[in-house]
């Protein structure tokens, strides 16, 4: 019987554990790719940018495979790599210009009906996340989306748990206010049409 996936068909336990580390490593990496894409999707401002970030993280992880410690969390290790590359990219860019781009996108030139519908779409929530300061965005993605505990998020980001708590609270409040203002805007538009 052929087992179709990357588990391999180890005939005995010794062979299982003696499997090439690099292949196991790649398999772990592939398994966590959807979560890396989701994480990167929250940090960046477009799907292609997120995939570029994940690809860079994969390449760096493979180059530093020897630094991963067995028995520690692989996903946290990868989140840390994604975060590091992302911060490097942020520093290398003109962030103000990017913020302007986002603002322009939010006020985009779609026809009015579509713009109202767009407000209903969850993609608008992602845009609201993109407007958060980078440290809040990072914390929000790690804890609220990826489900890390505060302690785990603190380990990934290298900040104290108290900082995670305050960043997360600010992010959640800001996000909620943004979402509420969107609802208010829609209601106002609806009232005006009525």
């Amino acid at each position: 019987m052929s087992f179709p996936w990357k588990f391999g068909a180890a005939p005995d336990h010794a062979a299982t554990r003696a499997a090439p580390v690099s292949k196991r490593f790649s398999d772990q990496l592939i398994a966590v790719l959807p979560r890396l894409r989701r994480f990167a999707g929250g940090l960046t401002r477009s799907a292609s940018e997120a995939d570029d970030l994940v690809q860079a993280a994969c390449e760096r992880a493979l180059a530093r495979e020897h630094q991963f410690q067995e028995g520690t969390r692989f996903d946290s290790w990868m989140f840390r790599i994604v975060q590091t590359i992302w911060i490097d990219q942020l520093r290398a860019r003109d962030i103000r210009k990017e913020d302007g781009d986002v603002a322009e996108e939010r006020l985009g030139s779609d026809e009015p009906v579509r713009r109202v519908e767009a407000r209903l779409a969850l993609s608008e929530v992602r845009r609201a996340v993109a407007l958060l300061p980078p440290d809040q965005r990072l914390t929000l993605m790690l804890v609220t989306i990826e489900g890390l505990s505060y302690k785990q998020a603190a380990e990934v980001t290298g900040v104290p748990v108290g900082t995670i708590m305050s960043r997360l609270a600010r992010a959640r409040i800001a996000l909620q206010q943004t979402l509420e203002s969107g609802v208010v805007a829609r209601r106002s538009a609806g009232d005006a049409e009525a």
Binding site: M1, F3, P4, W5, K6, F7, G8, A10, H13, T16, A19, R24, S26, D27, Q28, L29, I30, A31, V32, L33, P34, R35, R37, R38, G42, D51, V54, Q55, C58, L62, E70, G71, R73, F74, D75, R114, E117, A118, L120, A121, L122, S123, V125, R126, V129, V143, T144, G147, Y150, G162, M165, S166, L168, A169, R170, R172, I173, Q176, L179, E180
Partner: protein, 286 residues
């Protein structure tokens, strides 16, 4: 952290407070309806947020990322489709049985229904390719399956040996026979002794409306166990081994030839991966 603060509310929702802090927040909630409203709004927004990013878990992963993970150069061929991962549609589990937390969860789920619908509508309008409704339903069913698996694991760990329906005996043949009587196909018992895991017994459980066997293993190695292997039947197509998390639990699940399996434990995913490799080979070996 101030006891009466947004930080405290958010940490309360995230189940990150100790007993004293939780009691303070609950007293605050009892005393102030406006704070309860704020908590509800925060719970709703968290659900909406999770929904907004859920589609990443069901989209095909681009070939270039698969290639990058394998250390290969991406080719310019048509995108490879890899197995779908479940759409995470559940709100965070409520940290308390208090009524307003239940309400918060209910509100979150309502938001999920509305938000999910809006998201699907939005996707259909704005962001091709669409995610078929059938696929969303399958992903939701898978999520429920994993939620139940995680819940049964917690129950098993908290209750200890008393919860094992059929305890392990000498050859374990009787155990498997009794468990298999209630399942559509016989259960094989993976031998995980090389991992230091001892079979303790089996439970018959129901996950996603179908009978399943929960095989319970324990070990002195705290880095690995205890561990539960749940095996049920499925009519859905095969799915590659995939990691998920539920609170502090790691889950690794796969479907193969009519059998749905999930390993549940607190062990690091590297261990789970190796053990699952072993389990999969033993289950499918003839």
């Amino acid at each position: 952290m101030q006891k009466h603060s947004d930080e405290a509310l958010v940490a309360y929702l995230d189940n990150e407070l100790d007993a004293d802090e939780r009691a303070h927040v609950e007293a605050w909630l009892d005393a102030d309806p406006a704070v309860r409203d704020r908590l509800l709004a925060l719970a709703e927004s968290a659900t909406t947020l999770r929904n907004a990013f859920a589609e990443f878990m069901t989209e095909p992963v681009p070939e270039r990322l698969i290639a990058a993970a394998r250390g290969e150069t991406a080719s310019a061929t048509e995108a490879e489709i890899v197995e779908l991962r479940p759409r995470r549609t559940e709100a965070a589990p409520p940290p308390s049985s208090r009524w307003y937390i239940q309400l918060a969860t209910a509100a979150g789920l309502f938001g999920l229904a509305v938000g999910g619908g809006a998201g699907y509508l939005g996707n259909s309008i704005m962001t091709p390719p669409q995610v078929p409704a059938e696929r969303q339903i399958q992903a939701a069913a898978l999520n429920n399956w994993l939620d139940n698996a995680a819940g049964d694991y917690k129950l098993m760990v908290n209750a200890g040996d008393t919860l094992v329906d059929v305890p392990a005996n000498g050859d374990n043949g009787d155990v498997l026979q009794k468990v298999s009587q209630s399942l559509p196909q016989p259960v094989r018992l993976p031998d995980l002794k090389p991992w230091g895991l001892s079979f303790q017994g089996a439970r018959l459980i129901v996950v996603d409306g179908r009978p399943a066997a929960q095989l319970v293993y324990t070990t002195d190695n705290k880095a690995i166990g205890p561990l539960a292997l749940i095996i049920g039947s499925t009519k859905q197509s095969d799915i590659a081994p995939t990691f998920e998390r539920r609170q502090d639990l790691n889950l690794l699940y796969w479907r193969h030839q009519g059998r749905a399996s999930v390993l549940v434990g607190q062990s690091e995913i590297g261990y789970l991966w190796g053990i699952a490799n072993d389990v999969a080979w033993q289950l499918d070996a003839i």
